[in-house]
């Protein structure tokens, strides 16, 4: 199976202009590839740059060096140098992202938040809402919460809304930033099951999981981020 995403020579340095221009290198020369139907996991201690890699892959962080090639509309496209409009198009069609925290929009109900990515992609509202209901009930979010904006929900409830929103689309590449961090065992198992379904559907997944059980259950490959640390040569 040919890779759907190839990263090479990827480097990221933060320049803190408000702190006298201090340079903070986090990633040097990162290289890996993702295949459809497999879940790769970024491994390494906190602060090793796992989240930074995920954010570069989604276009949230600027890339200093290297390429991120992704199979988009049948061609390999470099995300690292793509124009903003192209990045948005790639996000719409090819790459999805489940963030660690839900960005709450005032006044919008949990159900609408979950259905929104489908509606944006042209699915009619009723069909999108049906799919959203299905995911929320699967993730055991009490039905009385569906019509409420999630601002007042608990951390775990918000995270389940976030997961449902991230899993509702059928992006061929899906990035997961600690989707199970504040979930109980039952819901962790549901997420593991949902990841397995994505794999069977041929989706390439890349995730960060601090929970060892979840990691062991879903990982086909572990990418050790410490290998991309800027100080590994000195150490």
């Amino acid at each position: 199976m040919a890779p759907v995403l190839i990263v090479y020579g990827l480097a990221k340095t933060f320049t803190m202009h408000l702190r006298g221009g201090i340079e903070l290198p986090v990633i040097v020369d990162a290289a890996f590839a993702l295949e459809g139907g497999k879940c790769a996991v970024l491994g390494g201690p906190s602060g090793a740059g796992k989240s930074s890699i995920l954010k570069m892959l989604y276009g949230n962080y600027a890339v200093n060096e290297g390429r991120i090639e992704i199979l988009h509309r049948g061609e390999m496209v470099d995300l690292a140098s793509a124009a903003p409009r192209r990045v948005l198009e790639i996000r719409r069609e090819t790459i999805g992202y489940v963030s660690q925290f839900l960005r709450v929009v005032p006044r919008v109900s949990a159900l609408d938040i979950v259905a929104e990515p489908l509606v944006e992609r042209g699915t009619n509202r009723n069909a999108a809402a049906d799919k959203a209901r299905e995911l929320l009930s699967r993730l055991n979010l009490p039905e009385r919460l569906w019509a409420l904006p999630p601002a007042t929900f608990s951390g775990g409830e918000q995270q389940r809304v976030n997961i449902a929103r991230g899993f509702i689309t059928s992006h061929p590449v899906l990035l997961l930033d600690e989707p199970t961090a504040s979930l109980d065992a039952t819901n962790r198992a549901v997420v593991v099951e949902m990841i397995e379904e994505k794999k069977r559907a041929g989706v390439a997944l890349l995730g960060i999981f601090h929970d060892a059980d979840v990691r062991n259950a879903v990982a086909d490959i572990v990418i050790d981020v410490t290998g991309f640390a800027p100080d590994r040569k000195a150490a």
Binding site: L18, N60, A62, L71, E75, P84, R85, P106, R107, V108
Partner: protein
């Protein structure tokens, strides 16, 4: 595996053409710079936020690209409904007025600047329809009622003057007045400025929905980064009349590159 998929050329071309192209636009007030050397394109359905502090030139720029102010140098071209790209400052007065009345909207910070305060809410909305040739009273009133509903103003307020409305209601009415002619491009100058936070949230949510449902292109000037985050796809940061940084909104806010952008982002109060 190299797959080469033939993409429908017609649809690519239609969406790949910008709605407006701004090139090297500058405005000088004598020796003083209003804005200098600004370049950007905006495409249909896209929301571009222009952010910066007071005096950064963002409103000058907005006025220069909306024919409210003539730039000292540079060009602004706009794709007319017939698909032709025209230089805005080469348009005749009649063409320019038609554009302003039909294809564009302009939402002012102060609703009193965009509304007629002494005629009814329904007439404020209906007036734009009449300007594009609608003459059937019943139809105009029905459309106005529908639009009041879409901006969450009760139908029984249709005969009231906006003078009797709260700030948030006035702003929603101004939005309805602008959107009733189905414009393709809407300019907004601090549309949530001066409103209470809860009123702001409601307005933002409403704008977000309308922009999406109508596929509007919006150029919004704001000093509020949270507003830019919520509404815009792309962002341009201005300081002293120049564009400091330009990019995807979440990239710019999560990983600001320019010293000034870093200062702006780090100055947001966390609640």
């Amino acid at each position: 595996m190299t797959v080469s998929v033939r993409i429908d050329q017609a649809s690519v071309e239609a969406t790949d053409l910008p709605l407006m192209s701004v090139r090297s636009v500058s405005k000088f007030y004598g020796q003083r710079i209003g804005c200098a050397d600004v370049d950007f394109d905006i495409w249909p359905g896209e929301v571009l936020a222009i952010v910066g502090e007071s005096g950064s030139g963002k409103t000058t720029l907005l006025n220069c690209i909306s024919t409210r102010l003539t730039p000292t140098a540079g060009t602004v071209s706009y794709r007319m409904r017939d698909g032709e790209m025209r230089d805005l400052y080469g348009l005749g007065e009649a063409e320019r007025r038609l554009l302003l009345r039909t294809d564009w909207g302009f939402v002012h910070q102060n609703p009193a600047d965009g509304l007629r305060m002494t005629v009814s809410a329904g007439a404020n909305v209906g007036e734009r329809l009449m300007a594009v040739g609608d003459r059937h009273y019943g139809k105009i009133r029905a459309t106005a009622t529908d639009w009041l509903g879409r901006v969450e103003i009760d139908a029984d307020r249709i005969d009231d003057q906006p003078r009797a409305f709260s700030g948030g209601m006035r702003q929603r009415l101004q939005i309805a007045r602008n959107l009733v002619t189905a414009p393709r491009l809407v300019f907004m100058d601090e549309p949530t400025g001066g409103l209470d936070v809860s009123v702001q949230a409601r307005l933002l949510d409403l704008l977000r929905g309308l922009v999406h449902d109508l596929g509007l292109a919006v150029i919004i000037v704001t000093h509020d980064l949270a507003v830019a985050r919520l509404l815009s796809h792309r962002m341009m940061v201005m300081k002293d009349g120049r564009v400091i940084e330009h990019g995807l909104t979440d990239r710019l806010l999560d990983d600001p590159q320019a010293p000034y952008t870093q200062l702006l982002v780090s100055s947001i109060l966390q609640v």
